[in-house]
């Protein structure tokens, strides 16, 4: 498993696409920090970017790589290696390379310019988002048969999670505004890794405003560590569950 991961990492480094991604993130972050004296404002801008670009690149890159490495996978399957180990090895290799790109591209500038509780939350949230979307990419890849369909599904997932979902939630809120929606809102947020990550950062950035809410459930959620603990554990589930589903599909799949 680890040997497969190692070969994949080496291959990814050679392909240079991920290096370009790293440089892109690093440039964006550095430019934002250099152009604005207010560190908090910089973090807000980076959050917005992280919530769009990071999921997109993670899911598309992982899906593409999975399909490009299909022959390699077939070769491995013909060897006496468990299918479980093959897929997990691939996941490990791909996710750790994308995570590495995120660490170098975002975490490093943030640590240099804005090392604070908010900055660290941003790093953790971004890292977990990377993992969840790579995981979702594996689910999308194993679910579909050919490359174009796989990438299509991956794009749909990204578009849904990063953009449409919030619009639907807003619509939902408008429609059912007469009902108590506190619990429903927390459940709805848990259904989208991007929202979870955003709320983690929100809990650090806008806690003054969040404290203004009267509902007991919100107060419990926003106050103390409940909100953070909830978001982190849900994001962990998002990074593990799709891969487990992918494993299940992959173990029975007719390659």
């Amino acid at each position: 498993m680890f040997k497969i991961a190692k070969y994949i990492i080496l291959d990814i480094i050679r392909s240079k696409v991920l290096i370009a991604y790293t440089l892109l993130l690093a440039t964006i972050c550095t430019v934002i920090f250099l152009s604005d004296s207010d560190v908090i404002k910089g973090l807000v801008s980076i959050t917005t970017i992280v919530m769009i670009i990071v999921p997109l690149v993670s899911i598309i890159y992982a899906t593409t790589y999975y399909f490009n490495a299909a022959e390699f996978t077939e070769l491995l399957v013909s060897q006496p290696i468990k299918r479980r180990d093959i897929l997990l090895g691939e996941y490990l290799g791909i996710s750790s390379s994308i995570l590495g790109a995120f660490v170098l591209g975002v975490c490093l500038p943030v640590a240099l310019f804005a090392l604070s509780a908010t900055g660290i939350t941003l790093m953790v949230a971004g890292g977990l988002v990377t993992l969840s979307f790579t995981s979702l990419a594996f689910w999308a890849s194993t679910k579909t048969r050919d490359k174009s369909k796989g990438i299509g599904l991956a794009l749909m997932i990204w578009f849904y999670a990063a953009i449409i979902y919030d619009a639907l939630v807003l619509l939902f809120l408008f429609t059912f505004s007469d009902y108590p929606l506190e619990k429903a809102m927390i459940v709805l947020t848990a259904l989208n890794p991007v929202d979870l990550a955003r709320i983690m950062i929100l809990l650090k950035l806008d806690i003054s405003a969040l404290m203004g809410y009267t509902g007991a459930l919100y107060r419990q959620f926003f106050g103390s560590g409940t909100g953070i603990a909830f978001s982190v554990s849900m994001l962990f589930i998002w990074s593990v569950l799709p891969v487990l589903l992918a494993l299940k599909i992959f173990s029975k799949k007719d390659l």
């Binding site: 908090i40 505004s177 929606l181 809102m185 927390i186 709320i199 003054s208 969040l210 404290m211 203004g212």
Partner: protein, 411 residues
């Protein structure tokens, strides 16, 4: 005739002065407590109380005395009565520790009570665990300087730290108040000054005005109270150079203004409050040169506020700059610095060329559906605000700042 009367007055003064004595109170002497000393003393005398532990069950100060504690002697009412009551003009009371007044719902028991007096100075006392700290009723020209008061710390039996009722020309300076209901409370108090006090962790308000006109409070710090300052039903209050910090929680405000007119809020700093300023039914208000940093809502101005002027303020890193429940057309915003402003300045005069609208579309959505707080800073919300900026006609014409500053005002 005038000269003769003046000489007479001088003579009287000299006589009084020559007769003024100093009485020393100490444990196990002829004067074992303050009560005995007051009974012994005459007008104009000085009472010095040596360091020690004394019980004081509502000692009445009925003569014009200077009472000084030497090394902070303790006066303890043992939860039975008030500690000290001053009923004569011209008293100075300084340097004591006053403890454990009775608590109750029928009477307002206090550490030091002043009733119908003037020219009294209360300074450098430490009040611990009293129901009310210093209680002024029907007084004028009283100075309360350099005292610290720490209340009972339980919400049900907490009175106010410094309580003034029906007074005028009072000075409250350099005091510290904590664990009370209101740090400082003013009711029907006119023409008074509150300067350089600190009020923190009180249950209700750091400073509370009711029906009090023409007062000034300046350079005070209000930290982590139920609400920082509440000004209600008052006129012409001047609020200068205060710091409102970390007043946090639902319906908790840095500065709560309700039904007040012609007041000025100048040079204050609002840092990390849930709501910086909340205004309801305020007319002819001026809020200039203030700084709002890291608040949830910098200002919440209800639509029943009229003729307000908001100029040269800095709004930095607030979640929301201004929110309202209707329209704010009757108020004027000008030359403020808004960190969310995205306009340009082609002629480089430091003023943005397009107006800034501080009430965002998302803030208006939040107004209707508070639960949408969960969507804050999401792509969708950013998109909504961008659309609103591109097509302002989407939202009803609300307040705008015609001359937004490109750089924050330096203070």
């Amino acid at each position: 005739m005038k000269r003769i009367s003046l000489i007479c007055l001088f003579a009287v003064a000299v006589t009084v002065a020559s007769h003024a004595r100093t009485l020393v109170v100490a444990v196990d002497t002829a004067l074992p407590d303050l009560k005995a000393a007051v009974a012994e003393a005459a007008d104009g005398d000085t009472i010095k109380v040596k360091k020690g532990y004394y019980y004081s069950y509502n000692t009445l100060i009925t003569k014009r005395l200077t009472i000084i504690g030497d090394g902070y002697p303790v006066l303890d009412a043992n939860y039975k009565e008030e500690v000290v009551t001053i009923l004569t003009n011209g008293v100075t009371f300084s340097g004591f520790v006053l403890k454990n007044s009775k608590t109750g719902s029928m009477r307002d028991y206090a550490g030091i009570r002043l009733h119908k007096v003037h020219n009294v100075t209360i300074s450098n006392n430490r009040l611990i665990n009293n129901f009310f700290g210093i209680y002024l009723s029907d007084c004028d020209h009283v100075s309360v300087i350099g005292n610290t008061t720490s209340g009972t710390g339980t919400e049900l039996t907490a009175g106010n730290g410094i309580h003034a009722w029906q007074c005028h020309d009072v000075i409250i300076m350099n005091n510290y108040s904590t664990r009370h209901r209101d740090g400082i409370y003013f009711e029907f108090v006119k023409k008074s000054r509150i300067i350089s006090n600190t009020s923190e962790r009180n249950f209700r308000y750091g400073l509370h005005f009711m029906f009090s006109d023409d007062d000034l409070y300046q350079k005070n710090t209000f930290r982590n109270n139920g609400s920082g300052v509440a000004v209600m039903y008052s006129k012409r209050i001047r609020m200068f150079d205060n710091l409102f910090i970390e007043n946090w929680g639902s319906s908790i405000y840095g500065l709560l203004l309700k039904d007040i007119t012609r007041s000025q809020i100048v040079g204050n700093r609002f840092v990390r409050n849930t709501t910086g300023i909340y205004m309801e039914g305020c007319n002819l208000m001026t809020a200039n040169n203030n700084t709002f940093i890291n608040n949830g809502w910098a200002m919440r101005i209800l639509a029943n506020c009229e003729n307000g002027t908001f100029e040269r303020n800095n709004f930095e890193s607030n979640s929301f700059d201004v929110t309202t429940n209707g329209l704010l057309n009757l108020n004027k915003f000008d030359q403020n610095y808004w960190d969310k402003y995205e306009g340009y300045d082609l002629n480089k005069d430091g003023t943005g060329d397009v107006p800034y609208r501080p009430v965002s579309l998302y803030a208006q959505i939040m107004e209707q559906i508070p639960q949408s707080v969960m969507l804050m800073r999401s792509f969708m919300v950013n998109l909504l605000d961008k659309v609103e900026r591109a097509i302002p006609s989407l939202t009803p014409e609300s307040v705008k700042d015609i001359n937004p500053k490109m750089k924050p005002w330096t203070r």
